[in-house]
Subunit: 331 residues, 2 copies
């Protein structure tokens, strides 16, 4: 997954209110603490991964989705937000092993800096820590949500490997993969927040989960657009990385429907960054990027429509801003 | 970690009683079910990993440690036993990626059969499924136990990478690594069983955890002895694999204290199976294997001494047999 410039999380937190901003600061502090207590060797890499930025979009969703809670629920909420970010961090570290990526957030990846072996174990550690963190305050329902999202992430990764370099991947299959690889963790973030606030069985859990799913799909689609358009200095990697990895994404699928030259192309023949850049230009010329952006915007609208009527104004506004934010990057 | 021929789990289960045997059969069934429901691609590999044998030593410890429980606790007990085996399976799959191992339990490893990428994601999936399984019936205390053991496993793996090819590794540091890499999951198995039976705070949890730790250390020490002695047709890999990987183990550490030729050896110069076999012969000739076996037996005695007085006879006998069993392999 491409990691692009942060949404303006500070502004979002402002809309959500001083309480969310305060909780987000506690999340940040805890992530730093966890990475510092991981031992000297690991600490360096864990810190580089989980404490070196990132949009904190998933923790923010946890905190906003929870809405107003009793002060004694705050610790559990922070734990849930930290846990979801740790799972996200674990998948980034493992993704970079799989993709042999050298840069992440403008910094060398763990895989590049310390080798694939250390990266594999570092990802495992972050993953285990996520559940340790959640178990400190979480309910069994929360552990179930996060573990099932984590299963989905791994299944999505396997699906991506299975489909690599296969130009016949359909839009439906692409969306199914996005759901597993990305949307489920957004869903989980919203559900964890809602569960922290309300316990099990509240109607908000289902509605906010559906919201998270659509936001996650929009996020992934736009991510895949950005892989074609760049700019490299902001996405932190060269355009066309997905093409070189054999990852068939929506822009490429839609472009193949529009451009016979692309339809005839064997993805395995894209082996150099220069060739990938040429294909990116063809995808852009086909109009597929515009159509992909529209699909992302449709998901944003779907997300907003899922927000329960009874949400208070500030919470609704903050969630709508998150939804808008994931597709307005570099618009 | 070497996977050697099963202990006679059937015999152990007999000693523990028909109830444990019945629960173990349910664990087996659930592991098969989970690997079959993982989707066609993954299913093949997950099945090859978690449903294709293994000693089921950790599930057995969960079940025996629990002792007599109410029938309505059985489902939670089976879940805990399955979860601990899934974590174990996940680490085996990832270990095989790190070690580039080609054989496991006499079968091709996931890494060898499907590539490192698929193996990485398969391990992640097994790991996530473990927590999903546990959350279905587990308490937050159980999730905490399993997640902290999982953190320890990853930290042990990182420690092993860090110390690779370093001949100055001390016995203490070796034991610290064994504790992280192996003993903590044995501890967790015992603790999960005790927690399933008694809830939190029972004195048995601490005593059985200490028992599990010593059994785990004994297990790992003997595993490391078997890596030197073979026989390959029973351990499923050639002797000296640890030497080739740069993993400095107790037999090598003790042999270096006894044989100046080994003390002067740079482990990085051991690059062929033939050379590794020569070094194994020198280690054997030094008497270090015997001393290592004694250290393992000391751990077994320590384990037995930790068993609470109030354990009923059948349960005590079964646990003692497990402790004896881990060091009597090929004795």
């Amino acid at each position: 997954m491409t990691e692009v410039e942060p949404l303006d999380v500070g502004a979002l937190a402002d809309v959500a209110g001083p309480r969310v901003r305060g909780l987000l600061a506690r999340v940040e502090e805890r992530l730093l603490e966890l990475s510092s207590s991981a031992g000297p060797v690991l600490g360096r890499y864990a810190r580089g991964t989980i404490a070196a930025g990132g949009k904190r979009l998933r923790p923010l969703l946890v905190l906003i989705a929870a809405g107003p809670t009793e002060p004694d629920a705050d610790a559990g909420l922070v734990r849930a937000a930290v846990a979801v970010e740790l799972v996200h961090g674990a998948t980034l570290v493992h993704d970079d092993v799989l993709d042999a990526a050298t840069l992440r957030r403008g910094q060398p990846t763990v895989a590049a800096a310390a080798g694939r072996d250390v990266a594999l174990a570092t990802g495992d550690l972050l993953f285990a820590r996520a559940f340790a963190e959640l178990s400190g305050g979480g309910s069994a329902a929360q552990v179930k949500v996060l573990s099932e999202a984590s299963s989905a992430l791994a299944r999505g990764e396997l699906m991506q490997r299975h489909d690599a370099f296969d130009p016949t991947v359909t839009v439906e299959r692409y969306l199914a993969r996005c759901e597993l690889k990305t949307a489920r963790l957004f869903e989980a973030a919203c559900a964890l927040g809602a569960l922290a606030a309300n316990g099990d069985g509240d109607g908000d859990v289902a509605a906010l989960t559906a919201f998270g799913r659509s936001v996650g799909l929009a996020f992934q689609i736009l991510d895949d657009v950005l892989d074609v358009t760049g700019p490299a200095e902001r996405t932190g990697k060269r355009p066309g990385t997905d093409l070189l990895d054999g990852t068939v994404t929506l822009p490429f699928i839609l472009a193949r429907e529009r451009d016979p030259q692309l339809a005839a192309l064997d993805p395995r023949t894209i082996t150099t960054p220069e060739r990938a850049a040429e294909i990116c230009a063809l995808i852009a010329a086909s109009g597929a990027l515009q159509r992909s952006r529209e699909r992302a915007l449709e998901q944003v609208e779907a997300a907003k429509s899922r927000l329960p009527d009874r949400l208070d104004g500030g919470r609704r506004h903050a969630l709508e801003l998150v939804a808008d934010g994931v597709v307005s990057r570099y618009a």
